[in-house]
Symmetry: C2
Subunit: 129 residues, 2 copies
Protein backbone atom coordinates (compact mmCIF):
# COMPACT_ATOMS: atom_id res chain seq x y z
CA UNK A 1 0.00 0.00 0.00
CA UNK A 2 1.88 3.06 -1.23
CA UNK A 3 1.58 5.24 1.82
CA UNK A 4 1.65 8.87 0.70
CA UNK A 5 3.56 11.03 3.16
CA UNK A 6 0.61 12.94 4.48
CA UNK A 7 1.42 15.87 6.72
CA UNK A 8 2.16 13.89 9.85
CA UNK A 9 -0.49 15.35 12.08
CA UNK A 10 -0.89 14.36 15.68
CA UNK A 11 -4.07 12.69 16.76
CA UNK A 12 -7.17 14.82 16.41
CA UNK A 13 -9.48 14.72 19.39
CA UNK A 14 -13.22 14.34 19.31
CA UNK A 15 -13.96 18.01 19.80
CA UNK A 16 -11.32 19.01 17.30
CA UNK A 17 -12.85 16.65 14.82
CA UNK A 18 -16.15 18.52 15.00
CA UNK A 19 -14.29 21.65 13.95
CA UNK A 20 -12.59 19.80 11.13
CA UNK A 21 -15.96 18.64 9.88
CA UNK A 22 -17.06 22.24 9.56
CA UNK A 23 -13.95 23.09 7.60
CA UNK A 24 -14.27 20.07 5.40
CA UNK A 25 -17.76 21.06 4.56
CA UNK A 26 -16.64 24.50 3.49
CA UNK A 27 -13.37 26.34 3.59
CA UNK A 28 -11.76 28.68 4.12
CA UNK A 29 -13.80 29.93 7.02
CA UNK A 30 -13.24 32.54 9.69
CA UNK A 31 -13.45 31.57 13.34
CA UNK A 32 -16.87 33.16 13.55
CA UNK A 33 -18.06 31.15 10.56
CA UNK A 34 -16.83 27.96 12.13
CA UNK A 35 -18.60 28.86 15.33
CA UNK A 36 -21.82 29.47 13.45
CA UNK A 37 -21.62 25.98 12.11
CA UNK A 38 -20.48 23.96 15.08
CA UNK A 39 -21.95 25.93 17.95
CA UNK A 40 -25.33 24.91 16.58
CA UNK A 41 -24.77 21.22 17.33
CA UNK A 42 -22.29 21.15 20.17
CA UNK A 43 -23.29 23.85 22.57
CA UNK A 44 -20.05 25.80 22.45
CA UNK A 45 -19.01 29.40 22.87
CA UNK A 46 -16.66 31.37 20.66
CA UNK A 47 -13.62 30.96 22.92
CA UNK A 48 -14.00 27.22 22.79
CA UNK A 49 -13.99 27.18 19.03
CA UNK A 50 -11.00 29.47 18.94
CA UNK A 51 -9.08 27.24 21.27
CA UNK A 52 -9.82 24.23 19.15
CA UNK A 53 -8.79 26.05 16.00
CA UNK A 54 -5.53 27.09 17.63
CA UNK A 55 -4.80 23.57 18.68
CA UNK A 56 -5.50 22.30 15.21
CA UNK A 57 -3.19 24.91 13.75
CA UNK A 58 -0.53 23.95 16.27
CA UNK A 59 -0.91 20.34 15.24
CA UNK A 60 -0.54 21.20 11.60
CA UNK A 61 -4.02 20.00 10.72
CA UNK A 62 -5.26 23.41 9.71
CA UNK A 63 -3.64 26.35 7.93
CA UNK A 64 -4.32 30.01 8.50
CA UNK A 65 -4.35 32.71 5.93
CA UNK A 66 -4.71 36.33 6.87
CA UNK A 67 -7.65 38.06 5.29
CA UNK A 68 -7.52 41.64 6.39
CA UNK A 69 -7.29 41.60 10.14
CA UNK A 70 -8.91 38.23 10.60
CA UNK A 71 -7.76 34.74 9.82
CA UNK A 72 -9.26 32.27 7.48
CA UNK A 73 -8.83 28.63 8.31
CA UNK A 74 -8.35 25.82 5.84
CA UNK A 75 -7.92 22.14 6.57
CA UNK A 76 -4.52 20.73 5.69
CA UNK A 77 -5.47 17.13 5.96
CA UNK A 78 -8.17 15.61 3.86
CA UNK A 79 -11.27 14.14 5.29
CA UNK A 80 -10.67 10.90 3.48
CA UNK A 81 -7.19 10.62 4.91
CA UNK A 82 -8.48 11.17 8.38
CA UNK A 83 -11.31 8.71 7.92
CA UNK A 84 -8.86 6.19 6.59
CA UNK A 85 -6.50 6.62 9.47
CA UNK A 86 -9.26 6.23 12.02
CA UNK A 87 -10.72 3.26 10.24
CA UNK A 88 -7.37 1.58 10.17
CA UNK A 89 -6.95 2.23 13.88
CA UNK A 90 -10.26 0.60 14.61
CA UNK A 91 -9.67 -2.37 12.38
CA UNK A 92 -6.22 -2.90 13.85
CA UNK A 93 -7.32 -2.56 17.42
CA UNK A 94 -10.50 -4.57 17.31
CA UNK A 95 -10.39 -6.80 14.32
CA UNK A 96 -6.80 -7.89 14.16
CA UNK A 97 -6.20 -5.71 11.14
CA UNK A 98 -8.61 -7.69 8.99
CA UNK A 99 -11.29 -5.48 7.46
CA UNK A 100 -13.28 -8.58 6.61
CA UNK A 101 -13.70 -9.21 10.33
CA UNK A 102 -15.20 -5.81 10.75
CA UNK A 103 -17.56 -6.49 7.93
CA UNK A 104 -18.47 -9.85 9.41
CA UNK A 105 -19.16 -8.20 12.69
CA UNK A 106 -21.40 -5.58 11.19
CA UNK A 107 -23.26 -8.24 9.28
CA UNK A 108 -23.68 -10.44 12.31
CA UNK A 109 -24.92 -7.65 14.50
CA UNK A 110 -27.49 -6.79 11.89
CA UNK A 111 -26.06 -3.33 11.52
CA UNK A 112 -26.36 -3.68 7.78
CA UNK A 113 -29.70 -3.01 6.20
CA UNK A 114 -30.85 -3.89 2.74
CA UNK A 115 -29.52 -0.70 1.21
CA UNK A 116 -26.12 -1.21 2.76
CA UNK A 117 -25.94 -4.73 1.43
CA UNK A 118 -26.97 -3.69 -2.03
CA UNK A 119 -24.45 -0.89 -2.05
CA UNK A 120 -21.65 -3.12 -0.87
CA UNK A 121 -22.57 -5.71 -3.43
CA UNK A 122 -22.40 -3.09 -6.11
CA UNK A 123 -19.02 -1.87 -4.97
CA UNK A 124 -17.74 -5.35 -4.77
CA UNK A 125 -18.84 -6.05 -8.31
CA UNK A 126 -17.16 -2.89 -9.48
CA UNK A 127 -13.92 -3.87 -7.80
CA UNK A 128 -14.03 -7.27 -9.34
CA UNK A 129 -14.43 -6.13 -12.89
Amino acid sequence: MARRDEPKVERISEAEHAVMEALWEKSPLSAADVCDRVCAQRDWSMPTVKTLLSRLVAKGAVATEAEGRRFLYTPLIERAAYAGQESRRLVDRLFGGRPASLFAHLAESEALNEDDLAEIERLLKALRS
Copy 2:
Protein backbone atom coordinates in the same frame (compact mmCIF):
# COMPACT_ATOMS: atom_id res chain seq x y z
CA MET B 1 -32.38 -3.59 15.88
CA ALA B 2 -33.40 -5.09 19.23
CA ARG B 3 -30.84 -3.45 21.45
CA ARG B 4 -30.27 -5.70 24.47
CA ASP B 5 -29.76 -3.67 27.59
CA GLU B 6 -26.11 -4.32 27.99
CA PRO B 7 -24.59 -3.26 31.30
CA LYS B 8 -24.30 0.43 30.54
CA VAL B 9 -20.57 0.77 30.87
CA GLU B 10 -18.76 4.06 30.47
CA ARG B 11 -16.30 4.44 27.71
CA ILE B 12 -13.31 2.14 27.91
CA SER B 13 -10.03 3.85 27.24
CA GLU B 14 -7.25 2.56 25.04
CA ALA B 15 -5.14 1.22 27.89
CA GLU B 16 -8.12 -0.30 29.59
CA HIS B 17 -9.00 -2.01 26.37
CA ALA B 18 -5.68 -3.82 26.37
CA VAL B 19 -6.59 -5.25 29.75
CA MET B 20 -10.00 -6.25 28.50
CA GLU B 21 -8.39 -8.11 25.64
CA ALA B 22 -6.44 -10.19 28.11
CA LEU B 23 -9.59 -11.01 30.03
CA TRP B 24 -11.52 -11.81 26.89
CA GLU B 25 -8.82 -14.20 25.89
CA LYS B 26 -9.08 -16.02 29.18
CA SER B 27 -10.98 -15.44 32.37
CA PRO B 28 -11.16 -15.32 35.26
CA LEU B 29 -7.63 -14.14 35.83
CA SER B 30 -5.80 -12.71 38.82
CA ALA B 31 -4.13 -9.35 38.52
CA ALA B 32 -0.77 -11.06 38.25
CA ASP B 33 -2.07 -13.23 35.41
CA VAL B 34 -3.35 -10.21 33.57
CA CYS B 35 0.00 -8.53 34.02
CA ASP B 36 1.78 -11.56 32.63
CA ARG B 37 -0.28 -11.23 29.51
CA VAL B 38 -0.34 -7.53 28.88
CA CYS B 39 2.99 -6.45 30.32
CA ALA B 40 4.52 -8.47 27.53
CA GLN B 41 3.19 -6.14 24.81
CA ARG B 42 2.68 -2.82 26.50
CA ASP B 43 5.64 -2.22 28.73
CA TRP B 44 3.72 -1.90 31.98
CA SER B 45 4.38 -2.60 35.62
CA MET B 46 2.09 -4.37 38.06
CA PRO B 47 0.71 -1.18 39.64
CA THR B 48 -0.36 0.07 36.25
CA VAL B 49 -2.30 -3.07 35.52
CA LYS B 50 -3.94 -2.95 38.92
CA THR B 51 -5.01 0.62 38.42
CA LEU B 52 -6.56 -0.24 35.10
CA LEU B 53 -8.34 -3.22 36.60
CA SER B 54 -9.71 -1.06 39.40
CA ARG B 55 -10.97 1.49 36.94
CA LEU B 56 -12.63 -1.18 34.87
CA VAL B 57 -14.29 -2.59 37.98
CA ALA B 58 -15.43 0.91 38.93
CA LYS B 59 -16.90 1.33 35.47
CA GLY B 60 -18.75 -1.92 35.73
CA ALA B 61 -16.90 -3.48 32.83
CA VAL B 62 -15.24 -6.15 34.94
CA ALA B 63 -16.41 -8.18 37.91
CA THR B 64 -14.31 -9.38 40.82
CA GLU B 65 -14.67 -12.61 42.63
CA ALA B 66 -12.65 -13.34 45.75
CA GLU B 67 -10.48 -16.40 45.55
CA GLY B 68 -8.76 -16.77 48.86
CA ARG B 69 -7.21 -13.43 49.60
CA ARG B 70 -6.78 -12.43 45.99
CA PHE B 71 -9.28 -11.37 43.41
CA LEU B 72 -10.16 -12.96 40.16
CA TYR B 73 -11.33 -10.68 37.38
CA THR B 74 -13.95 -11.49 34.78
CA PRO B 75 -15.19 -9.27 31.97
CA LEU B 76 -18.80 -8.21 32.28
CA ILE B 77 -19.16 -6.94 28.76
CA GLU B 78 -18.61 -9.10 25.75
CA ARG B 79 -15.95 -8.45 23.24
CA ALA B 80 -18.46 -8.47 20.43
CA ALA B 81 -20.58 -5.88 22.19
CA TYR B 82 -17.60 -3.65 22.66
CA ALA B 83 -16.46 -4.08 19.10
CA GLY B 84 -19.94 -3.31 17.89
CA GLN B 85 -20.21 -0.21 19.99
CA GLU B 86 -16.87 1.12 18.79
CA SER B 87 -17.64 0.28 15.21
CA ARG B 88 -20.92 2.09 15.42
CA ARG B 89 -19.19 5.09 16.91
CA LEU B 90 -16.78 5.20 14.03
CA VAL B 91 -19.41 4.72 11.38
CA ASP B 92 -21.60 7.40 12.93
CA ARG B 93 -18.83 9.87 13.38
CA LEU B 94 -17.06 9.47 10.10
CA PHE B 95 -19.42 7.87 7.69
CA GLY B 96 -22.74 9.42 8.48
CA GLY B 97 -23.95 6.22 10.04
CA ARG B 98 -23.78 4.34 6.75
CA PRO B 99 -21.64 1.24 6.99
CA ALA B 100 -21.56 1.05 3.22
CA SER B 101 -19.62 4.30 3.20
CA LEU B 102 -17.01 2.76 5.43
CA PHE B 103 -16.78 -0.18 3.11
CA ALA B 104 -16.52 2.10 0.12
CA HIS B 105 -13.76 3.99 1.82
CA LEU B 106 -11.79 0.87 2.63
CA ALA B 107 -12.20 -0.31 -0.91
CA GLU B 108 -11.14 2.99 -2.41
CA SER B 109 -8.08 3.29 -0.21
CA GLU B 110 -7.06 -0.17 -1.26
CA ALA B 111 -7.14 -1.35 2.30
CA LEU B 112 -8.87 -4.49 1.12
CA ASN B 113 -6.76 -7.25 -0.26
CA GLU B 114 -7.87 -10.23 -2.27
CA ASP B 115 -8.58 -12.35 0.78
CA ASP B 116 -10.70 -9.62 2.33
CA LEU B 117 -12.71 -9.27 -0.80
CA ALA B 118 -13.25 -12.98 -1.13
CA GLU B 119 -14.29 -13.24 2.49
CA ILE B 120 -16.72 -10.37 2.21
CA GLU B 121 -18.15 -11.80 -0.94
CA ARG B 122 -18.69 -15.08 0.82
CA LEU B 123 -20.40 -13.40 3.77
CA LEU B 124 -22.55 -11.40 1.47
CA LYS B 125 -23.65 -14.47 -0.36
CA ALA B 126 -24.49 -16.15 2.92
CA LEU B 127 -26.57 -13.20 4.03
CA ARG B 128 -28.44 -13.18 0.79
CA SER B 129 -29.49 -16.77 0.84
